[in-house]
């Protein structure tokens, strides 16, 4: 059997991302791809997209400029975790460079033991440039210091999904502007036979992709696939989002901080900043949060519920749930949209031409679980470290231990600065290091090589490295000028 027909239900950045990738990979004359778009918005209004988005854009053939010029997007160098207790910048890209064969992290730990006041970020060009509000694209020449820059994007999802939909239409995807009214299951095998639309159309397809957000109308409602919820994820159940003018000294980073009420995320776009506040409705009323937002100079605040949970399976028979329809997760370090992109690539990889998709489906679900588990562990540890800032989190960790996986990861780092093997790659090793060190977790043992290395020489090396990076960062343009220049060159 050949897949001839794929229907994506729900548009948004989720639906249109999947549409673009499918259309780019499947022969246009053989497979028809349609998107039923009711113009609902994605959950969350902005995305802090890590550098992996470039690879996806490459796969779908979308140029960065198309994205930057037609939306309010800006460049991102990383994430700043800043509050009363901590201040660390989680950026991608290189940190330092090995010293005579000794890995840089060990060199850094040693310097801390020796009393050096500098943070790990002082040795990252990404982080130094970000703290100075500067930005530039990486250069291709591997010998240049500027080749180590790794950047992402800050995207306003509504505008971004319009760019994606225009791109998908150009790739031959069909748009059906209507809303879903009914899902018809085949009695024989509980697969989706067809869907009825408000405009009276009935669509059948070989594969349905559920991009209906938290409603999960196809996979959840119609097919009855159950959800699982983590008690920790349930601590926060509401989100308030609004905008404020871009501050004069805005840096090309997203800011993340935990407060008594929940966590706050501030994402700078080209012309304004998006502020989202995730909190618990049991402890903070909407009015209270609104006042907090006003104090932050935020207007047009929109409130919506957040129900973090994930399905037990993401692909069942002829229906795949993408984005919040499959798993609604906290938007902390890795954006929900990046999960969509990763899932879309996985789907395309495994979507092959045969009668029985069982084994592809099993593999898809297995890989999706692995990825979500890594994300869960990260969120759990983030909340764990924030437990003194927030009563709800404090409460949780008073009565609940860390999960075995998270505890092992923490112990392993704390004893020896090492990391468990991971087969999902949302978050790389050096980022775990920055995350732990930012939370004041330092390994107890030092690498033997660095132990016997001359202390004075080591400190000198780090000083010179820091100075060189600072000088290099200072030569980069200011982020706002860089973006303005980009628009000017249109």
């Amino acid at each position: 059997m050949t897949i001839k027909n794929i229907v994506i239900v729900g548009g948004g950045a989720t639906g249109w991302s999947v549409a673009c990738l499918l259309a780019k990979n499947l022969p246009r004359e053989l497979v028809k791809i349609s998107v039923v778009d009711d113009w609902r918005k994605d959950h969350g209004q902005v995305e802090f997209a890590r550098s992996s988005i470039h690879r996806f854009h490459e796969l779908i053939g979308l140029h960065e400029k198309q994205c930057m010029l037609n939306t309010d997007a800006s460049f991102s160098l990383g994430l700043l975790c800043q509050d009363a207790h901590k201040n660390y910048m989680l950026v991608e890209g290189a940190y330092g460079a090995p010293l005579e064969g000794i890995d840089f992290q060990s060199v850094y730990y040693k310097s801390v033991l020796l009393g050096s006041p500098h943070s790990l970020e002082d040795y990252s060009l990404n982080a130094v440039a970000a703290s100075l509000g500067r930005f530039g694209h990486p250069v291709a020449d591997p010998k240049s210091i500027y080749s180590s820059i790794q950047y992402g994007l800050h995207l306003e999802l509504d505008a971004y999904s319009k760019v994606l939909s225009a791109h998908a239409l150009a790739l031959g995807v069909e748009l059906i502007a209507s809303d879903l009214s009914r899902v018809n299951l085949s009695i024989k095998d509980v697969a989706i036979e067809s869907i009825d639309l408000m405009n009276g159309m009935q669509l059948s397809a070989d594969l349905f992709i559920d991009c209906t957000g938290e409603r999960s109308i196809l996979l959840g409602d119609a097919m009855g696939v159950a959800s699982m919820a983590d008690p920790l994820d349930k601590k926060f159940d509401s989100v308030a989002v609004g905008y404020r003018p871009l501050s004069m000294d805005a840096k090309p980073v997203t800011q993340l901080m935990t407060t008594e009420n929940g966590y706050l995320k501030i994402t700078p776009l080209k012309h304004q900043e998006c502020v989202s506040y995730t909190y618990s409705s049991r402890f903070s009323s909407d009015d209270f949060i609104k006042q907090e937002m006003v104090a932050l100079n935020v207007t047009n605040v929109v409130f919506s519920p957040l129900d973090c949970k994930k399905k037990t399976q993401y692909w069942v028979r002829n229906c795949v749930a993408m984005g919040y329809a499959g798993a609604s997760v906290h938007d902390l370090f890795v954006s929900p949209m990046s999960l969509v992109r990763s899932a879309a690539v996985r789907l395309v990889d495994l979507l092959t031409d045969f009668d029985d998709l069982t084994f592809s489906i099993d593999e898809y679900n297995r890989l999706t679980h692995v990825e979500l588990e890594q994300l869960r562990e990260l969120a759990e540890l983030y909340f764990y470290f924030e437990r003194s800032s927030n009563a709800a989190l404090g409460d949780h960790f008073n009565s609940n231990a860390l999960s075995a996986g998270a505890q092992h990861r923490l112990d392993l780092f704390a004893c020896s600065g090492r990391h468990p093997h991971q087969s999902a790659h949302l978050f790389n090793t050096i980022e775990w290091v920055v995350f732990f060190v930012g939370n004041q977790i330092f390994p107890q043992t030092c690498n033997l090589d660095v132990d016997s290395y001359d202390s004075k020489k080591l400190i000198q090396y780090l000083e010179s490295l820091k100075t060189a990076l600072y000088k290099a960062a200072e030569k980069m343009p200011l982020h706002k000028d860089y973006i303005a220049h980009l628009a000017f060159n249109k």
Partner: protein
């Protein structure tokens, strides 16, 4: 200086595992004043049959800073481009698991899907035709891969066949020169800390007491420390890997051709290896004693030699499996003391390497943090299981019904994760890239041909794919034609290094 730093390592057992470990540790920690003692006895033999390797061995030698020319002369090594499997999927089948990719991906879809579509459309060419390593191996050709990535001659890797006893001897000299102390003796007693149960010291037959912070058990199947003293649980895998005996015998080299590959020929209750070295050919018959007597196994082996046997056949017994923990307290097992898998994919020395590499990666201090030990065990275990499943797959994916042994293999239930991988491949050629080797070449070679190729390749026309595949074959043939034979190549290399030694002496 950290007062908790390990100051003394005691390696128990020489042989390939012991001396590889000693060499790597002294190289790694030469600047850190760690004392390394290796205890072995000339009266205890070594197994040392792991004479065939995979390309990782080159990283190990590089890490030690061993010059390849010296290595090849010292260990009587020959080059290896892959493993040829004969009679596995069916009697008469013959495929190569090459050290190098098949064709290459097009539009993000793996090559074997294109091959499969052409197969369906009548193309007669086996997968081997799209691997430079496989075609050069068949033709008996070898030269070093090109470092120019654009060049077709860069699309393969290589390993060695070598004399493991000579390798151990070479590494012993290397280690001793760098400061490893070799202590002759047999361990007669082990002293443990009464509270922690950590090993404090070992006592030798001479009465000498050797103390240490970290003990490495390289005592082979015996597991003198890890098993006899620390009682590590052994996980038995013989339900999937029924072979439990081997007979080994060297023979005279074939005059015909020096084959740059290991031959693994299936027999009625096991398989036979053939590993050509410079001065002789190593042979062995791995078999399941439930299905075949030793006499019969020996007769089969002796009937299938290239030349006259050079020694009496030696026999070994073993059990496939692994100790659930290769690291307990302050003792780490490396090599056969940690686990055993038959050498079907030449992974014995590789598994020693994995143990050493992970030990260095997770090198402890005297605190011996449990999270660190647990992670080492978890990663080593995962590597054993990965290779175990890959080897099981060779037995499972067969259509042979000519003996009770093969019928049993064909019908056995394999580990769930392996079954899922095989089902996925069977349906649509999907390969989990974290798996070992060139997975698709072994699956297809064994006879597991996917039912469906990836329909994304339908965007290309048959004519274009056919043309593209033809070009790959033509290019590979042209490249192989101009390569020297493996024999010429290695003779030239040895002559050149002998000359260099003479020049140096002058």
């Amino acid at each position: 200086m950290n007062p908790n730093t390990i100051k003394k390592i005691v390696i128990v057992g020489g042989g390939t595992a012991g001396w590889m470990t000693a060499a790597a540790l002294i190289k790694k920690f030469s600047a850190s004043n760690i004392q390394i003692v290796l205890v072995e006895s000339e009266t205890i033999g070594t197994v040392g049959v792991g004479e065939s390797t995979i390309p990782h061995i080159r990283h190990f030698n590089q890490f030690l800073g061993i010059d390849e020319n010296v290595f090849v002369s010292e260990t009587k090594a020959t080059f290896k481009l892959g493993i040829a499997f004969k009679n596995w999927g069916t009697l008469g089948s013959d495929y190569i698991h090459p050290f190098g990719p098949l064709g290459h991906d097009i539009s993000g879809v793996e090559f074997h899907h294109y091959w499969l579509r052409m197969q369906r459309e009548g193309s007669p060419y086996s997968l081997d035709h799209y691997s430079l390593a496989a075609m050069a191996a068949r033709a008996g050709k070898f030269q070093h891969p090109s470092s120019d990535r654009e060049n077709l001659l860069s699309t393969y890797s290589y390993a060695f066949h070598f004399d493991a006893a000579l390798y151990a001897k070479y590494l012993r000299n290397y280690s001793e020169t760098k400061g490893v102390v070799r202590q002759e003796g047999i361990v007669v007693e082990t002293k443990l800390d009464s509270i922690t149960g950590f090993i404090q010291s070992i006592v030798l037959d001479s009465g000498l007491v050797v103390d240490g912070d970290l003990f490495i058990d390289c005592t082979g199947f015996k597991g003198l420390l890890i098993d006899k003293v620390l009682h590590a649980e052994f996980e038995d895998w013989s339900q999937w890997l029924a072979c439990d005996k081997a007979i080994a015998v060297p023979c005279e080299s074939s005059a015909k051709m020096l084959t740059p590959y290991t031959q693994a020929t299936a027999h009625s209750a096991g398989w036979q290896w053939r590993i050509p070295l410079q001065h002789r050919t190593g042979n062995g018959h791995v078999y399941a004693s439930d299905y075949m007597s030793e006499d019969e196994a020996t007769a089969i082996l002796l009937n299938n030699l290239d030349g006259a046997a050079l020694a009496e056949p030696r026999s070994f017994s073993f059990k496939a499996g692994q100790r659930k923990q290769n690291w307990i307290k302050n003792c780490v097992a490396i090599g056969l003391a940690g686990g055993f898998l038959e050498p079907l994919e030449s992974t014995s020395i590789y598994l020693i390497q994995v143990g050493i590499q992970k030990l260095i990666e997770f090198f402890p201090d005297k605190s011996f943090f449990s999270a660190n030990t647990a992670e080492f065990n978890c990663q080593v275990d995962a590597e054993y299981v990965r290779i175990r499943d890959f080897i099981i797959m060779h037995y499972k994916e067969t259509r042979r019904e000519d003996s009770e042994f093969w019928l049993r293999c064909k019908n056995m239930n394999v580990p769930v994760a392996l079954q899922q991988r095989q089902d996925l491949f069977n349906q649509c050629g999907g390969v989990d890239r974290e798996q070992y080797g060139v997975y698709e070449s072994v699956c297809i070679g064994q006879g597991l041909v996917p039912k469906h190729y990836d329909f994304k390749i339908n965007q290309h026309s048959s004519e274009n794919i056919a043309k593209y595949l033809q070009k790959i074959r033509v290019d590979i043939n042209a490249a192989v034609t101009q390569m020297p034979t493996a024999k010429q190549y290695i003779e030239k290399m040895i002559a050149a290094s002998a000359l260099a030694v003479q020049e140096g002496q002058r």
